[in-house]
Amino acid sequence: MKRKPASPGGRPPGRRLREHSVLPGFGLSLGLSLTYTSLIVLIPLAALVLRSSSLGWHDFWEVALEPRVLASFRLSFGAAFVAAALNTVFGFVVAWTLTRYRFPGRRLLDALVDLPFALPTAVSGIALTALFVPDGWVGRILEPLGINIAFTRAGIVIALILIGMPFVVRTLQPAIANLPAELEEAAATLGASRLRTVARVVLPPLMPAMLTGFTLAFARAIGEYGSVIFIAGNLPFRTEIAPLVIVMKLEQFDYGGAAAIGTVMLAASFLLLLAVNLLQLWSRRWSGAGI
């Protein structure tokens, strides 16, 4: 391809892509990306929507707004939100420790972070349940205190924390590593306390990464099924998550109903992710990284 000299006023983004890409041919790689994304993401989702449309508008809403289904939506999105929020806080601490300190066993701890990625979620669900049932190792200690984890919403949140943690840690680690230690030192020489340094100097530049981590953990938690069903107890209206409702519909050969609930989850997830992405865009600009 013939290269043109750069125009002084900056080049349009498309041109830049074309000139700097290492892949052969912009047209080819764009085409491939679109095809790949379509095959993997768009077409299955479209099929889902199509399947649910076989119900008709009225039946669709009947299924989607059924009280038991609504309760499962609330639980799924609520627990996922709480788990992702907790993960963001504690994942930050873990990522900070792993990045900023050198201590014996650091590499081991670092490797452990990835474990929830690799473990079949059912396994982690069974392990957690065994731990938290009233005569399990942890449940035995908590029961006399009147705290019940297994078969309650708290148990669901714990399962979701487990599977979401790596997302937060792994997104934050490179961001923390890129944050120069001089920023903290500068704040210290300017008289700032630790608290102020964290709030005004350390956290703002990490905001975009934290939001990304939150989003990934949240998205993953909404769809989680395997680990939750073991610890949840699955009581309708109380500890029954939306994916479980879908599975039950499928088991009753109610494909239309399952697709309808799936479509609502899809739409809600999409809107939430869109909102978080916009927030992230805004915070990126706010933290000075995007200019």
């Binding site: 120069p180 001089e182 920023l183 030192e185 500068a186 704040a187 210290a188 020489t189 300017l190 008289g191 700032a192 306390s193 102020r196 005004r200 100097v201 703002p204 530049p205 706010w286 933290s287 000075g288 990284a289 200019i291």
Partner: protein, 592 residues
């Protein structure tokens, strides 16, 4: 507001990166810490700021002991090489940061911020983000931010290191002006000698964690004490000649002393510094107005604005050895860097290949590099090492120290690595053979990094040195160290290498030995070379007997802090086991 440092030491993993630095910086002074990278200057600055913990010693700011006070309570401003601006804040918020921390009223804050931005030449930039500014502008913001709370001390860690030359010069002037206007005591760290000379009230030159010399720029440039400082503060032609009570002598030429120099007994070896501008060149001898030292050929000629740079090669002068600029090993001619002001260069042009007379207008003699012998095992009676060290030191015009053993195993205390020895004379650790044997295993990390002198029994001051070398870089260090000792003792030397049985003599070995002989004989040491075949340790031992040698010089390269047993394995281990009958000088050269 003064700064006092008292014996500051910082260690990382047992190695001292800053070693016993004591320094007084006066109120309102601009003090520049100058040194190559890794010299410990930044660590020293960070200890003053409280950003690095102090292992030993004390820091006093304005008479207050702040050694263990947190950086936020020291009343300092710090400027980083990377600017370290808060990118999530505007320029105004950055500058106001320290005032906000202090809870200053908003209107006062705004006034102060505007005043500071005006001062650094960025008035009206308050609403911008750091990312919208150039590097030079960002550093100006960082400077304003550091000064906002009117600190008494401003510490700058290579602040202009990441900027290009023109902006650097500009910022230097800005900084000097602001520092005077704000009457702040400043410590400025840099590796750029030009920056140091231009900015400083006083310069402290650091290397290997030590503060070598402190003085006004002109003082340090014209009258450095050590070769390292001479070389670091500009181009230096450094030669070894002789000093007499009234002059210094380069071969047969007496040079007038341009600077006060310590009076030394006749015939003392002296390192003579000739700055490029101190040398005069002319095509004809009659018009020379300086002490003529010889004729040389113009090798290189370069133009650099205000001056013309020439490189002139002179024939060898007997008894004169060049130290800097460094020549190839074994070269005995002299190569000088000369500069001439542009008008002179235009009026009397010379071309490459022209022959010119070279004269010296002014020269400076460095402080004599003394030998310091540290005695291992203290003053134990009947110690052969003690007897020998005393006599040896006397003949070398050196001194003996008797430290306690704990201090001795601290490498920075005893030791001088080979490269350090060029800076501060050189250090030897003397010990009895029994100690060397018993301590073999302990010469792990923290082993004395200086040269070691092992004394097996009653010994006289050496007259015949056997220098046993392997061909290569460490061998060159061995020869240079031996040369100093042989010259001082007026001893003769044999340079020997041992090759495996039944092998011919490769040409590079012969070349190396010849070059080594030239290094020694250029200083007037009677030298012969020798090649033996067989096992190194037994050949060395039999040569000692057959040749009547009375000091063995061998090398043991220092291989870094993790080396297990430098004297245990290989030739060195066998030599120590077989116990040579004469003292053994183990030269520790550092692989760089």
């Amino acid at each position: 507001m003064s700064i006092q440092l008292d014996g500051l030491t910082k260690r990382y993993g047992g190695l001292a990166v800053v070693s016993r630095v004591s320094l007084d910086i006066a109120n309102g002074e601009m003090f520049v810490l100058l040194g190559p990278s890794g010299s410990g200057k930044s660590t020293l600055l960070r200890m003053i700021a409280g950003l690095a913990e102090v292992d030993e010693g004390r820091v006093w700011l304005d008479g207050r002991d702040v050694t263990h006070v947190s950086p936020s309570k020291r009343g300092i401003g710090f400027v980083f090489q990377s600017y370290a601006l808060f990118r999530n804040m505007t320029v105004a918020d950055n500058v106001e940061f320290s005032l906000r921390v202090r809870g200053t009223r908003p209107d006062v804050r705004r006034r102060r911020r505007e005043e500071l931005l005006e001062l650094v030449g960025l008035a009206g930039f308050g609403e911008r983000r750091p990312a919208q500014l150039s590097g030079g502008q960002q550093q100006r913001v960082a400077l304003a931010r550091a000064l906002a709370d009117a600190p008494a001390f401003l510490l700058l860690d290579e602040p202009f290191g990441a900027l290009d030359a023109r902006i650097r010069t500009e910022l230097r002037q800005t900084l000097r002006r602001i520092q005077r206007e704000c009457r702040v005591t400043a410590v400025f760290v840099t590796h750029d000698q030009e920056e140091a000379l231009e900015l400083a009230d006083r310069i402290g030159v650091m290397n290997f964690g030590r503060l070598l010399e402190v003085g006004a720029p002109q003082e340090l440039y014209l009258r450095p004490r050590s070769a390292f400082v001479a070389g670091f503060l500009g181009v230096s032609n450094l030669v070894v000649g002789e000093s007499t009570p009234t002059s210094v002598r380069l071969g047969s030429v007496d040079l007038p002393l341009g600077t006060e120099t310590p009076v030394q007994p006749r015939g003392q070896r002296a390192q003579i510094l000739l700055r490029p501008e101190d040398l005069e060149i002319r095509a004809d001898r009659e018009h020379m107005r300086s002490a003529v030292i010889g004729v040389g050929r113009v090798e290189e000629r370069g133009f650099s604005g205000p001056v013309e740079r020439l490189r002139i090669r002179l024939d060898p002068i007997p008894g004169v050895r060049q130290v800097a600029p460094a020549l190839p090993y074994g070269a005995s001619e002299l190569v000088f860097e000369v500069t001439r002001p542009q008008p002179e260069a235009v009026a009397r042009t010379v071309k490459r290949g022209d022959m010119v007379w070279v004269g010296v207008r002014r020269c400076h003699v460095l402080a004599p590099a003394s030998v310091e012998i540290t005695l291992f095992g203290g003053t134990r009676p009947g110690s052969h090492a003690r007897d020998f060290a005393g006599r040896f030191a006397e003949s070398l015009h050196g001194s003996v120290r008797y430290p306690d053993e704990a201090a001795l195993l601290d490498p920075m205390q005893t030791g001088d690595t080979a490269s350090q020895s060029e800076v501060v004379g050189f250090g030897l650790t003397a010990m009895d053979f029994e100690d060397a044997e018993a301590r073999q295993g302990e010469f792990g990390p923290g082993a004395p990094m200086g040269h070691v002198l092992v004394v097996p029994g009653p010994s006289e001051v050496p007259r015949r040195l056997l220098i046993c070398v392997a061909v290569g870089e460490p061998g060159k260090v061995d020869v240079r160290v031996a040369e100093r000792i042989a010259w001082r003792l007026d001893a003769e030397a044999t340079v020997m290498t041992v090759l495996p049985e039944g092998k011919g003599v490769p040409e590079h070995v012969t070349r190396f030995l010849e070059a080594s002989a030239r290094v020694l004989s250029s200083r007037g040491v009677r030298t012969r070379t020798l090649i033996r075949h067989g096992s190194p340790s037994s050949e060395v031992l039999s040569e000692i007997k057959e040749g009547g040698h009375d000091l063995l010089v061998v090398g043991a390269p220092f291989r870094g802090p993790g080396e297990p047993h430098p004297f245990r394995g290989g030739v060195m281990g066998r030599l120590l086991r077989e116990r040579p009958s004469v003292p053994m000088l183990i030269v520790r050269s550092q692989e760089s």
